[in-house]
Symmetry: C2
Subunit: 283 residues, 2 copies
């Protein structure tokens, strides 16, 4: 199959992932799944041991059918990289030779820069059992290797492809602290709102004789306000706290808390009354 059938689509999708003589369909599928999570779509196989198509690969791809359907199979590695301008080879072993060695972050950025400049790029991954031969590494421009623990270096091809796909995605983010959904707006409440809580809480505590002996009250108030200030509560959080205080305050004089504590072991939290995928709206 020609690699040129769909040049615009494949160029738009970022680097091609090229697996050299992959042995297990499950691994091919897991690579496809990893790619799809991070926006890559062009998977090339060089002489897969168990042939192609592979139902095991499709099952392991977990609905990344668009990647599986677009897989291209090549007889040899030279043909698989023929249309590419720049190729990384992944390897865990140091090789003699002249090739530059990059970490995955640097490699992701280099691929992004070349992609932006209109170059077609690819990343080679070797066989499950022993990786790439030296002459195969020789067909690449540079080497990428992962910062694994030297005492336990055993990434499989699906794990290695996941990390490179992830770094590819990250290299395209304006800000690597940006997430698909964001932290809630947690602007600390105004001091007026905070002081309103203090007044309410201190009034409730005063009513039940918390500030004893009287001469210690100023220090007790200081401590209480310090604790509630350091947390930098936002306005919605203050509302929750006010609701808690209100509830405790309302029930205690008429209906003092009696038996029925949730459990003996203080480390055990009570189970949620009803498990829900989205919490009920706060009243």
């Amino acid at each position: 199959m020609s690699a040129d059938e769909n040049p615009s689509n494949t160029a738009a999708a970022g680097p091609a992932i090229i697996l050299v003589e992959p042995q297990l369909g499950e691994n091919i599928g897991m690579v496809a799944r990893a790619m799809a999570n991070f926006g890559l779509a062009e998977l090339r196989l060089v002489d897969p041991r168990d042939g192609w198509p592979s139902e095991k690969a499709r099952a392991a791809a977990s609905r990344a059918d668009h990647v599986i359907d677009a897989v291209k199979v090549f007889d040899d590695l030279a043909s698989a990289v023929a249309d590419l301008n720049f190729v990384f080879a992944t390897t865990a072993r140091e090789r003699d030779g002249f090739k530059a060695v990059r970490g995955p972050v640097e490699a992701g950025r280099a691929l992004r820069a070349r992609h932006t400049a209109g170059q077609r790029t690819g990343i080679l991954f070797g066989r499950e059992r022993f990786g790439l031969y030296n002459d195969e590494v020789g067909l690449a421009d540079e080497i990428v290797t992962f910062p694994v623990d030297p005492a336990f270096s055993s990434l499989n091809i699906a794990q290695a492809a996941l990390l490179m796909s992830y770094e590819w995605m990250k290299s395209g983010l304006e800000d690597e602290t940006k997430t698909n959904f964001s932290s809630p707006e947690m602007l600390p409440a105004t001091k007026e709102q905070l002081h309103g809580l203090f007044a309410y809480l201190e009034g409730a505590l005063e009513a039940r004789g918390y500030f004893r002996p009287a001469q210690k009250k100023p220090k007790m108030v200081d401590n209480l306000r310090a604790v509630l200030t350091r947390a930098a509560f936002a306005e919605p959080e203050l509302k929750v706290l006010r609701g808690i205080i209100s509830s405790l305050d309302r029930f205690s004089p008429a209906m003092p808390r009696g038996d029925g504590s949730p459990g003996d072991d203080p480390r055990r939290l009570p189970a949620a009354a009803a498990r829900i995928q989205s919490p009920e709206k706060e009243e």
Copy 2:
């Protein structure tokens, strides 16, 4: 089993990875393998569906036996996090609530800073099928989520644990471009060495009449030198080039190249004569 049996070992190893009701032994094993590659060793399971120990987990861990042997099983999540000072929950879904949301890079750095300060930390991963319940996320301090393609968000727990383990390792590197083995020293050769090659090559080309017509020689020399300069060859590379030129030069007058070209298809590279794990030393 108590989580306090080996506090010094576990604290030294970084965050605990906590899988809540994992269903498949294979996934537990792949998590252990991912952890071991990036220097993590403390795996905790909350109520694993198929019980523990698991031979499937051990097989999938691919010799990360030290992680599998040290697995601790807990009846509930509150017990599994009881000894920790700070906990991240991983989730792909936005949740209502007050928790900060971090990307994996930021989360790795936060875990490293807390670890360095002597805090014990952990990362929660939910069930394969639907992740964590809201009340389980509620037991964590903050949320971490991955920059996946919103159109295909399907990381499994082993993939998510791999990415967090990787970011943990990276957060401890002084320089994220540092690799376990490094690029060869590729100091560009001195100009004297480069000009030596020019003189040698130009002499050989002159001898076989390459510079024709004579008035074009200055421009041809300019171009040739420009090509060989831009590549910024290092001294060992110049030696290889000199060897090539020498070989061509030596054989051509007495033994002109005749039949026996390696192949008809110019895109096909000849197979390496003998595949070797380490290349022979350059003569």
